[in-house]
């Protein structure tokens, strides 16, 4: 499954893009899709936090979700930190 992560905001205000393929188990894929379909509400109090626009390209559809510093699931952060 392909992914794209657009990071914007932050103190620097410099956008960044990550993309690649996710090679994870069926169970983790299911968990990831669940997180994407049910993201926690963004934290309105954060200033200078990054905003993460995540897109997953499944075989049948495209799923998009937005996260912030407080709501970004570790599994998605791992895609950026390696």
């Amino acid at each position: 499954m392909k992914y794209e992560i657009h990071v914007e905001g932050g103190f620097t205000g410099i956008p960044k893009k990550y993309e690649g393929n996710i090679d994870i188990s069926e169970k983790d894929t299911s968990r990831l899709l669940d997180l994407m379909n049910n993201p926690n509400p963004l934290d309105n109090d954060i200033r200078d936090g990054f905003l993460y626009h995540v897109t997953l390209f499944d075989t049948e559809k495209t799923i998009e979700a937005q996260f912030d510093e407080k709501t970004l699931p570790p599994i998605i952060r791992q895609l950026m930190t390696g």
Binding site: G9, F11, I46, R47, F50
Partner: protein
């Protein structure tokens, strides 16, 4: 009036209208209502009721130990001896300097004027290129040391983040579009002022850069932003310095870090004319009368009113109002006569 689960005796749009006409009590009610709603949600979520007590603005520095978590390991508290970790010590020293500046300049007791504890988290995440204020505390990454470094050690970054706290409690400027750009602007303004105080600079020899010490030599630029010349700090810097180049896109919460270049340039021009201390007082007093949805025109109207008032009270020089008015006109913001 009820909006989902939120009930108000006076509708917010009426409070906002009265705030625009100068009602401090309505502005405070509007700001507090929004903040209280947010806090109430947090409190309900955590099933925790926190009593508000006056504090001393004491500092606590936590080491995130490169995890993406806050308050992992308490590293240093107020009045404790320096540790072996220089990042911890720098975060302690710089946040203390910022706290003392606001106390001595404006008699502000910590960021909320109620002695809120100043909590900093350092070594957040792995190669994390950011620093942020989350409504309660500050968090700093170490940077990847390829392009960015030492966010917690930079006096202007620390002052910038703490100023977000001050803004939250004084005006609670909404973090999107023009109100968000003003939120960023006030943080850059006081980041610059505190930096000049910390480094014993004056307006002639100051560099007017924000974040010059958090970029590495490999970074394609000299800093993150420039108050003197917005849009020139680095290869990615798209800040305009005039309303003609206003960014109207949706990125970055509708350009909060982009359009802040416009009032930033006005601040620089004003400071060159009347000095940084007069500007500090004018900007701080203006923030006190702004409200959550204030835009650039509201800012201009209130800063001119504030300048006039402070001139009449002999608290700033007698050319302040003219200098501020001309500075904002230079960036394309002029007051429309009704």
């Amino acid at each position: 009036m009820c909006d989902k689960h939120h009930c108000f005796i006076i509708p917010p749009q009426i409070l906002e209208g009265l705030a625009r006409r100068g009602s401090i009590s309505c502005k405070k009610t509007l700001n507090d209502t929004h903040r209280i709603l947010q806090k109430r949600n947090t409190v309900l979520n955590h099933l925790l009721l926190r009593e508000i007590e006056t504090g001393d603005g004491n500092r606590s520095i936590y080491d995130s130990q490169n995890k993406y978590e806050q308050r992992v390991q308490l590293a240093r508290r107020e009045e404790e001896e320096a540790t072996n970790d220089q990042v911890v010590n720098k975060a302690y020293d710089t946040s203390g300097f910022v706290r003392e500046y606001f106390k001595s300049a404006f008699d502000l007791n910590s960021v909320d004027n109620n002695g809120l504890e100043l909590i900093s988290n350092v070594h957040y995440g792995k190669d994390y290129n950011n620093a942020y204020w989350d409504g309660d505390e500050m968090t700093y990454g170490d940077g990847d040391n390829k392009e960015f470094k030492d966010f917690a050690s930079a006096i202007d970054v620390v002052a910038h983040e703490l100023m977000h706290g001050v803004t939250q409690f004084l005006a609670n400027l909404e973090y999107r579009s023009q109100s968000g750009a003003l939120n960023e602007h006030f943080s850059d303004v006081f980041g610059t002022i505190v930096k000049q105080k910390y480094l014993n600079q004056n307006i002639k020899n100051a560099d007017w850069l924000i974040g010059d010490t958090v970029v590495t030599e490999a970074f394609p630029g000299v800093a993150i932003r420039s108050m003197k010349a917005p849009g020139t700090a680095n290869d990615f810097d798209t800040q305009p310095d005039h309303m003609d180049n206003y960014y109207s896109g949706t990125a970055d919460n509708q350009g909060v870090h982009i359009n802040s270049g416009i009032p930033n340039k006005a601040f620089y021009l004003s400071a060159i004319e009347i000095g940084i201390d007069d500007c500090a007082l004018i900007w701080f007093e203006t923030l006190k009368v702004l409200w959550r949805t204030a835009d650039f025109n509201d800012m201009l109207e209130k800063i001119l009113e504030t300048s006039e008032r402070l001139m009449n009270e002999d608290k700033v020089c007698n050319t302040a109002s003219k200098a501020v008015s001309e500075s904002f006109a230079t960036v394309g913001l002029v007051q429309v006569s009704v």
